[in-house]
Structure formats: structure tokens, C-alpha cells
């Protein structure tokens, strides 16, 4: 009994068993070797067992591929987002840079257009003009003045009270000049006064700045024409201003005070020029010679200069 149990748990091996193991070993090596030798002649040939295994394995492999691809997609799309954040930051920075570039390009295009218009205005037949760049705004609301830098070498030719224009219309007059720099008193300064005309009705009025407001007060001449003035009417410079070109846009009527038929009617005028955004202006050096009377159209108001009509 005891002997049987010991032999079952690996007792001393008999030589016959060794030979048997060696034989099995050689056989199990020879089988695949012969199998390989037979299959080397036609490696693509599949028997029914091969086909069965491949038929079973193919859908399993396909499903496994889908699962692994799904897991990889899940990982890359929802979990491993470190590189996405870095990429996001880079793209955000690039976006900001491109936005800045685009804004700069827009600003430059607008400036180029403005310069082009200024050139057109400067080369307008009749008046000689000099360009100037606004370098400082008014420091006090009580003195509506901007500081300008004239084109190099043109300072000496610029005198006090010369009119200053912008693309949109009248800016003011030169108040003082020092070298190639100067101060321009804005038209809305309370101490500046202009004679204006409403081209639609031919009504004349005297304009002066309203203290503390970016507007003009317009005292309309008494008469039937004054009654016709209404909100939205355009005002331009008249021929009664000394050293001032005619028909330069000043602004539009924003409010009319007083009832019709009264001796005095006042109106508030909104300037055509946005003084807070002035960048370039033109100083009118000299006025054109007066046109011969026959060449002037009778009773026909001249078209105002400036972009706002």
C-alpha cells in the first residue's frame, strides 16, 4: 500500500520510463518539424481546421480592435487632455496675436484711407494747406485746445488764426505757433466765434461754443428763413469769416429753441468733427482767389466740403 502511494508521487524512475520520455520528446519535436516542412511548399493553403479557427478568431479580433480603439479614443478624448490643454493655450495665444494683428491692420487701413482723403483735401484746388498731427488733447475742459505737430519745416509759414480743418469738417483756428508745433483752438471753445449758414434755407447764424459742452450755440437771424431751420439741418461756414474757406462743414442742428416768429431763436449744433478722436488736421495757409462773379452759380448754395453732408 505504502509502496504504491510512493510510486504514484514520483518515486525512482525506471530506465524504461526514461526511454519513453525521450521517445515522446523526439516525437513531439518531430511532428511540428515535419508539419513545417510540409507547409513550406504551400504556405497559403488552409485546411478546414485552419479555416474554422480563423472564422472564429476574426470576429473576436474585430470586436477586440473596436473595444481597444474605443478605449483609446475615450482616453484621448476625455481623460488624457493634458496635451489638449497645452494646445488650447497655444491656440488661444496665437488667436490673441492674430486678433491684435488684424486690429492693427484695420487701424492701418483706416489710417491709410484717412491719409488718402487728407491728401485729396490738401490737394483740393484753391487753398494751400499743410498737414499736422495731433499730439495732445485739451488738458482743461475750459480751454478747448489741441496740440499739433506740423510737417517738418512748415512751422514758420503758419500764423495765428489760420483755419484748421479735418476730414469731417471745421476743427478751429491756430492759436499759437512755436517751431514746428502749435496749439489749435477748437471751434467749440466758448471764446471762438464763427459765422455759419444753413445751406438748405440760406439762414445765417453766429456760432460760439457752449461752455462745458461739446456743442455750439447758434443764434439765428430773425426772419422767415430762420423759422424754416429744423433739427438735422447742416451748417457750413459762410463767406463772412475772415481767412476762412467757405462751405466747410460745421455740424448739424441738434435742437431748436424758441417758437416761430420770435425775434431770437437759438439752436444747438452738434459738431461734425469728433474732437476726441482727432489724429490729423490740415492748416489752411491761404485762401483761393475769389472766383469771377459770372462763374459763380446764382442762388445755388455750394456743396459743403467735408465728408459729412
Amino acid at each position: 500500500m505504502a509502496t504504491n502511494s510512493l510510486s504514484a508521487w514520483g518515486g525512482p524512475r525506471a530506465p524504461r520510463r526514461r526511454w519513453r520520455d525521450l521517445f515522446l520528446c523526439l516525437l513531439l519535436v518531430a511532428v511540428p518539424a515535419l508539419f513545417l516542412r510540409a507547409n513550406l511548399r504551400s504556405p497559403q493553403q488552409l485546411n478546414f481546421i485552419d479555416r474554422g479557427i480563423l472564422k472564429v478568431s476574426s470576429p473576436l479580433q474585430s470586436g477586440l480592435t473596436s473595444v481597444i480603439r474605443g478605449a483609446v479614443g475615450l482616453w484621448e478624448g476625455y481623460v488624457s487632455l493634458v496635451h489638449v490643454k497645452r494646445q488650447n493655450d497655444l491656440l488661444r495665444a496665437e488667436n490673441a496675436r492674430l486678433r491684435e494683428d488684424a486690429a492693427r491692420a484695420r487701424r492701418e487701413a483706416a489710417a491709410a484711407a484717412r491719409y488718402e482723403e487728407l491728401l485729396k483735401l490738401r490737394d483740393d484746388k484753391g487753398a494751400a494747406k499743410v498737414a499736422a498731427r495731433v499730439i495732445g488733447a485739451d488738458a482743461s475742459p475750459h480751454f478747448r485746445v489741441v496740440r499739433v505737430s506740423f510737417a517738418v519745416g512748415t512751422g514758420p509759414s503758419i500764423k495765428k488764426d489760420m483755419p484748421v480743418l479735418a476730414l469731417d469738417g471745421l476743427v478751429g483756428r491756430v492759436r499759437r505757433v512755436y517751431g514746428d508745433y502749435g496749439d489749435v483752438q477748437l471751434a467749440v471753445d466758448p471764446t471762438s466765434t464763427f459765422d455759419a449758414v444753413v445751406p438748405r434755407t440760406g439762414t445765417h447764424c453766429l456760432l460760439d461754443g457752449i461752455p462745458g459742452k461739446n456743442r455750439f450755440r447758434c443764434r439765428l437771424e430773425a426772419g422767415a428763413a430762420a423759422d424754416e431751420v429744423k433739427v438735422g439741418d447742416l451748417l457750413v461756414t459762410s463767406q463772412h469769416n475772415a481767412n476762412m474757406p467757405r462751405a466747410v462743414t460745421i455740424g448739424r442742428v441738434a435742437r431748436v429753441e424758441g417758437s416761430r416768429g420770435t425775434v431770437h431763436r437759438d439752436a444747438e449744433v452738434l459738431p461734425a468733427v469728433d474732437f476726441s478722436r482727432l489724429t490729423e488736421v490740415l492748416v489752411v495757409l491761404s485762401l483761393p482767389p475769389p472766383a469771377p462773379p459770372e462763374s459763380q452759380p446764382a442762388r445755388r448754395p455750394r456743396a459743403p466740403r467735408g465728408l459729412i453732408q
Binding site: 520528446c25 513531439l28 481597444i68
Partner: protein, 177 residues
Amino acid sequence: MSRAILFCLVGFGLLLVQSTLRQLLPVVALVPDPALLLVLYLGLTPRQSAWVGAILAIVLGYLTDLLGAAPKGLHALVYVLLFYAARGAQIRLLTRGWIFEVWFCLLAAFLGGFLVMLGRALAAPAVGVRGYLVAVLQAAATAATAPVVFFIGRRIDRWTSRVPDGHERDSLKVPLK
């Protein structure tokens, strides 16, 4: 018998994973050879009789040939040779510890890759130096995953180990005199 079938099924599943990874991973050489690791485990474990282990190695090699589109019998032959090599190492050497397993698997995997390249040369032109580089990389990847596959093998052995019932325990008892 159920243990052998379970090893075959696990080997088949690992082969499917291997072939799928080969399609998905950019570097094919870095995909380990899990079937070879199972064969080495069968060779190194003392619970396995030699001829059953050799047959399992042949079956796993045959499946590898089939799924890897290799000449049928190539991996079967290489695996059975490596199984006997592992069995010899198990008898002659102290085969304990994961460090020995990893080193032995590295050596066996490289030897297996070399043998596969030799067998491949019988049917196709030789692969050259690049083939040896691939064999080294795959051997390294295989050795790196050896602890995982050996862990799976041990789990299978634990699941399939038969606990002797009361009658068998009585028959094993040696009468004391």
C-alpha cells in the same frame, strides 16, 4: 485536462490581443509574445507533465502561426523546443523569483526570435540586421511582460488545482507502524 484547455483558451485570447495591438501600436516590435511566455511558464512550472506541456506548446505555436500568417509549424516547432529548454532549466536550475523569470524569458524570447528568423529564411529572403534588432526589441518587450503572464499562469494553476476529497486523503495516508 481542464487546465490544458484553459491554458489554450487563455493563450488564444492573449494571441488575439497581441495581433490587435500589432495593428494599433506604431512600433510592431514592441508588442510582446504572450503565447511564448505561456509556453515558458508551462516549462518552468513543476506541476506540468512534459508531454502535455509539449502538446500545449505545439497548439499555441500552431495558433500563433495561424493568426500571424507564418508558415504553419514554424512557431509550433520553436515553442516546443523552447518548452523543452525551459523544462531542462527547471530541472537543473533554481527557477524561483521574478528576476530569474524575466532574465530567462529575455534569453528564451531572443533565442525564439532567432529561430523564427532562421525558419523564415527557409521560405523567404533573409531579413538582415534589422530583423535581429526587431528580435531584440520584441524579446525585451516579452521579458518585460513576463511577470504578468506568469501571474496569470499561476492563477490558472490555483483555480484548476484539485483539492483532494476525504477518500483520496485517506488513500494517501502512509500507515505508521
